[in-house]
């Protein structure tokens, strides 16, 4: 019987900007899920993606996709990337400048499938641009072409390494919706590397948090990022943008996951271990907030 899991149990020594670090990941991913791998830069997120793609081999361990073993250090199995039925897209993707949008997408297909190319053009809103060459497209449209091309070979697994980080927030939101749509419509498993909380919440059904090479938490984003150890019901995660002393208190500006600016009054003891750039949970009791209809 086919088992519906990606099984990952690997170790790999890495050399990072902060010196050597060991990536240790033991986790399973349900097929069909859209999973985010979340963490700061240099913690091993991209290395994990490269291991899944077969572009990098773990020092030891095992990776399997359903019943197919992709990597097993003991049995010396290491399936080549082109035999894993995956597609990946990195931040610095490239599309062929001398081909049209349609040709770029077709190029990725081992066997031509025109109706599927038409479907992809439609999913990504590219139908009317299919005869354009890339230099006539906007940044967001190029990104869509790259995504459509990554899907053209009908991969079972789509690996995305911060694919949207260069886009403005509106374009990013639109593409996030399209990625979610594609994941559902094509029955894919998608793993997206992200350090953007908003993206994780919008897209992922499961998030795997990596810190210093280790999986620290995983689960549904709302469970992973909400703090169950406090009774406050209004919980917003964000990043400290500014701390200003005003009068006898501090006004702390926090940018939330969906880019709302929140100001919180804080006192010295609240700020003992906190500084600009730190991620925080802003919580309040359910009794305090006031609702007002949006105009």
């Amino acid at each position: 019987m086919e088992n519906g899991l990606i099984f990952i149990d690997i170790e790999k020594q890495m050399l990072t900007a902060n010196g050597p670090m060991k990536l240790v990941v033991q986790t399973t991913i349900q097929l069909g899920e859209l999973v985010a791998v979340f963490g700061e830069s240099g913690v091993g997120k991209t290395t994990l993606l490269r291991i899944l793609a077969g572009l990098s081999a773990p020092d030891k361990g095992m990776v399997s996709f359903g019943n197919t073993v992709w990597f097993d250090s003991e049995k010396q199995i290491n399936i080549a990337p082109q035999q894993r039925n995956i597609s990946f897209m990195f931040q610095d993707f490239a599309i062929f400048p001398n081909m049209t949008v349609e040709q770029n997408i077709q190029f990725a297909q081992p066997e031509k499938n025109h109706s599927f190319v038409a479907e992809l053009l439609e999913v990504f809103g590219l139908t009317e641009f299919r005869k354009y060459r890339p230099n006539g497209l906007s940044g967001g449209q190029k990104q869509r072409v790259a995504l459509a091309r990554a899907l053209a070979r009908k991969p079972k697994l789509l690996l995305l390494d911060e694919p949207l980080s260069a886009l403005d927030s509106e374009m990013r939101n639109a593409l996030q919706n399209e990625i979610a749509k594609a994941n559902q419509r094509l029955g894919l498993t998608t793993i997206i590397v992200s350090h953007d909380l908003n993206e994780v919440f919008r897209l992922a059904s499961v998030v795997i948090c990596i810190e210093n090479g280790l999986v620290t938490r995983s689960g549904k984003p709302e469970d992973v990022f909400s703090d169950n150890s406090i009774s406050g019901k209004v919980q917003i995660t964000g990043q400290i943008a500014r701390i200003q002393k005003q009068d006898t208190v501090y006004v702390v500006t926090v940018i939330s996951g969906n880019n709302q600016i929140i100001k919180v009054i804080a006192f010295e003891n609240d700020l003992e271990n906190l500084g600009v750039g730190d991620r925080v949970m802003v919580f309040s009791k359910a009794f305090n907030p006031i609702l007002s209809r949006l105009r």
């Binding site: 150890s229 009068d247 208190v249 919580f283 009791k285 009794f287």
Partner: protein, 134 residues
């Protein structure tokens, strides 16, 4: 944040609303909470928890008489006053704890607050959060 440690002595519930009594060195505090979808495992009678309330939620009274609706009353001694233009911070000793109240400087003046004054610090039950003991 002000933090006190106490033991949950009673949990009264009506629908999703909970009124939790917490015993802090024989003083009973109350916290009104909304229940989560699943009751946290630490929110049980007999468990030690931390009571948390913000400095700006602590009202101060001097020579208070009559009845008042505020459930949490702490007899305190003023230990320090940091005057700001609009907002002042008053450090108070309550039992073995130090708590802080942030009130308007106008109130500091109208109460004629000074060091060693005996005051009552007051916090509404719905301003108290509970935290799992660290």
């Amino acid at each position: 944040m002000n933090r006190l440690q106490g033991k949950i002595s009673c949990i009264q519930q009506s629908g999703a609303i909970l009124l939790v009594d917490i015993n802090v060195d024989e003083h009973v505090f109350s916290a009104m909470l909304i229940e989560s979808a699943t009751r946290q495992e630490w929110l049980m009678e007999g468990n030690t928890v931390e009571l948390v309330f913000k400095e700006t939620e602590v009202a101060l009274a001097k020579n208070l008489s009559g009845l008042i609706s505020m459930r949490n009353r702490m007899k305190c001694t003023v230990r320090h006053i940091e005057r700001g233009e609009l907002l002042s911070k008053v450090s108070l000793q309550f039992l073995k704890y130090v708590i802080t109240s942030a009130i308007t400087t106008r109130s500091v003046d109208s109460l004629e607050l000074k060091i060693f004054d005996e005051v009552e610090a007051l916090v509404k039950a719905n301003e108290v959060s509970l935290m799992k003991k660290q």
